[in-house]
Symmetry: C2
Subunit: 211 residues, 2 copies
Amino acid sequence: MPPKLTGRGQATRGRILEHAAELIYAKGVHATNNEQLRRAAGVSGSQLNHYFPTKESLVLAVIAWQAERVLAFHRSARFTSFDSLDGFREWAKYYTAYERSYQDGCSLGSLASEIIKTDLDVHEELAGAFDQWTDIFRDGLLQMQRLGRLDADADPTRLSNLLLSAYQGGMLLAQIARDVVPLEDALYGAIDYVQTFTTSTSGRDVRSAPV
Amino acid sequence: MPPKLTGRGQATRGRILEHAAELIYAKGVHATNNEQLRRAAGVSGSQLNHYFPTKESLVLAVIAWQAERVLAFHRSARFTSFDSLDGFREWAKYYTAYERSYQDGCSLGSLASEIIKTDLDVHEELAGAFDQWTDIFRDGLLQMQRLGRLDADADPTRLSNLLLSAYQGGMLLAQIARDVVPLEDALYGAIDYVQTFTTSTSGRDVRSAPV
DNA sequence: AAAGGTCTGGGCTGTCAAGCCCAGTTTGCG
DNA sequence: CGCAAACTGGGCTTGACAGCCCAGACCTTT
């Protein structure tokens, strides 16, 4: 069923995808048109049409690409599978370290909010990606419980939903306020709440970093 | 400077605004066009053009209208100025009581995410509204501190940013998952975190409602 | 009654974008 | 070599939409 693609074809398709993802992330889906995509990826209109016959197919591919990226990032060794509070703090630190990190929002979340009300059939794609995302947090919290770093009465599912919600909501507030503080407050607040379930410290005595 | 509007003119303008807000909330800005607006409000194209010369002016008015609505709602007696945990729990209960409440997202937040990347000049309008929104929470938490219901070392600004972020992010996750649970988890989780700063209870012994 | 705001219902134009087609060229695999 | 994919650089149609204009009717206040 997959139309035979040579190595070169895959490379071009991938180049289009990368630039499309970047453009759409920066300017939004509706403000990105074919001409911009052609120029950014350095391909002709025919090629764009060849690899992505419709805009919906391109957007779908971009969603999959961004989802894979964000999931791979969260699964990287950097956060040690979120098996400790330090892992979560490292994560929060990454997203609050640079001004640039919040100005275009979450690479997947902003895309989701923009098209969730349209008739594009992207629901399954998105739902699957966000499920996996929360699962990364949940699995980390479960592991923390196994290691005795988190109380047994903590609810990893609930906490993972709070963590991701705080990130998504914090990103939105930061974009609107053009200030990283709301994102910091949301992330470190959520993580401090997780800390209240740790046995090693009282949780109320040790607080997260900034200000 | 305001073009003289008689009572009738104001009524028509208001009717257009109401229907525009409803349509845009349900279908998004880009998927709402003049013809739908005309039919929904029962006015002719000339009138639409008369009261809102450009789409940007209409969107701006809708933002202001939705902002006023959501702020008035949060200031209503129902939540007793958020001067207690019960006020916050009542708030969370409202947004998680019905399936319908999350399916179109936050009336202001979804609008914000959709247009934050466009070149529409709506930044000040949005920033002001969200500032007031967090202030409602912050003022409530400050009042709780004054009343001795919240520890002095709690940071009302930080907590209010977490609360609103949890709501916005939870709304997005709920929309994507087509399930109210992520929103519930985010809201009640954030509120339980606030509870860890209350002196009356340990905070760890009493948890919020669902499941 | 006069005036000015309100309102209809249609038409018109310019613009922009998506999708599609094609003639011809280049590349690379078998 | 031969063939198929990759690729160029256009052009073309179609549709959608925002913005704009108008002739005339209606309503309300002065």
